[in-house]
Symmetry: C2
Subunit: 269 residues, 2 copies
């Protein structure tokens, strides 16, 4: 059982854990439901990522380094890192190193959280036009989704996404004010890049995972005007809750999309 992040420097004697060697078995603390070593290493690395010991875009230590630090073999570290890479926590690049995932550089892989595409299949990153940004108090629904107390401060953000100059999506985004202090229209407009890149760079909030629920609804008057469709036209409603480290929800988003020339794309395997 590994129970802390050891120092990098001298590294204590390896002391092969549970290996086929003569050394002592690693059964300290009488582990209650023994977790595999690689899972423990993975958890340690996740803590390091969460605590920003290595920041988005930076390299984490090499496999050999980590193996020495933790007193495990390179293969065990490798398995832990591969799990992190599969979960998009890190990116591995042969010959260069393993890098903390970031929303600020991902040129093409930026479509990870953007599932609405043009009908012709072409990728196109939409332009964003901020319609409204205000402080408000969390209603019952937002409070439940974001695990806040009802009435806690939130930012409410509405924007229109345009493809080729045509408005297609209306976003209504609720953010807990505590994590996004100082969010202003000016800062948002000044940022170059995706919204999650903005959150990461400006507020240190890294989005890891999202859950979406999709429905078909009728456009109300105001939405119809913004998206230039008839009132009552069918719109695709995408309700998203986005999570950061520790399974903590930090964004509630309702997306209303006109699907006349676009669609939501998904793959099942």
């Amino acid at each position: 059982m590994i129970d802390r992040m050891p120092p990098a420097d001298p590294a204590p004697p390896p002391a092969h854990p549970r290996a086929a060697g003569p050394a002592g078995t690693r059964r300290d603390l009488a582990a209650p439901a023994r977790e595999p070593l690689y899972a423990q290493v993975q958890a340690l690395l996740e803590h390091g990522l969460e605590r920003a010991e290595w920041k988005p875009g930076e390299a984490i230590p090499s496999e050999l380094d980590l193996a020495a630090r933790f007193g495990v073999s390179q293969g065990t570290v490798r398995k832990a890192i591969e799990a992190l890479a599969a979960a998009n926590r890190v990116v591995r690049r042969q010959g260069k190193g393993t890098f903390v995932a970031t929303h600020t550089e991902e040129r093409s892989s930026n479509f990870r959280f953007l599932r609405i595409r043009r009908d012709d299949g072409e990728y196109e990153y939409p332009a964003s036009r901020l319609v409204e940004l205000k402080r408000a108090r969390a209603g019952a629904d937002a409070a439940r989704a974001l695990e806040l107390r009802s009435g806690e401060g939130v930012y409410l953000l509405r924007r229109v996404l345009e493809y080729g100059g045509r408005p297609v999506i209306l976003d209504e985004i609720t953010l807990p004010a505590a994590r996004f202090r100082g969010l202003t229209r000016a800062r948002y407009d000044a940022f170059r890049g995706s919204m999650y890149g903005f959150f990461e760079a400006e507020f240190g909030v890294h989005m890891l995972r999202a859950v979406e629920r999709l429905r078909a609804v009728s456009a109300d008057r105001a939405t119809a005007a913004l998206l230039r469709v008839a009132a009552g036209a069918p719109l695709l409603a995408v309700d998203r809750v986005t999570y950061t480290w520790g399974e903590r929800p930090v964004e509630l988003r309702r997306e209303l999309a006109s699907t006349a020339r676009h669609h939501y794309w998904n793959e099942l395997a």
Copy 2:
């Protein structure tokens, strides 16, 4: 380079491929763009699965067996099998073996291709009521999606899915007649289990992967009547193309769902 499925019996001398030993390096055929060994093993296993050398639900040979057959190490076989498991081609069960995936037993994991859920989050497998089943000729759209010649024979199948007695989804399914010869209402009604279980058990067509495009549309009169909603009500349209081995499309499906009490669930990571 491994280039065929060797016999199971005596197995030629291991002849460590490209290993740190004294044996000859495996550079036969002067491989043009050398593929890793585990990828070659994976491809060999996929061919075996495609040719139904091991049938859905059956066990494939053990890692040690396969390693001996292919003349590679157990670790290399393991990596190949793990990739197959990640792609839902096989299921690994500790102490028992590795089994070919099947749509005929997956009790709970049957929701792999069923993303519409009740709003309260409860899982519920809907009841199916067949509305129509007829032979027809592929139109231009169906022919393109299913890679058929326009006018080739297809089955056209319409059914309503009901949750708790309420109609929620209308399915319109197009199948290439060549692969589903002898499909009749009686056979469909007699089968116990999911539709993909039916396809697998009765026609040997195993669905591996699907691509979906979602839009919001207005209910036409006929659909509205079947789903007991108002004409013009917004419906979620899910257009699915489903693939079997060799990336061959074998099902085109349009699903129209009333999302008053249900939604389409998705997770982004």
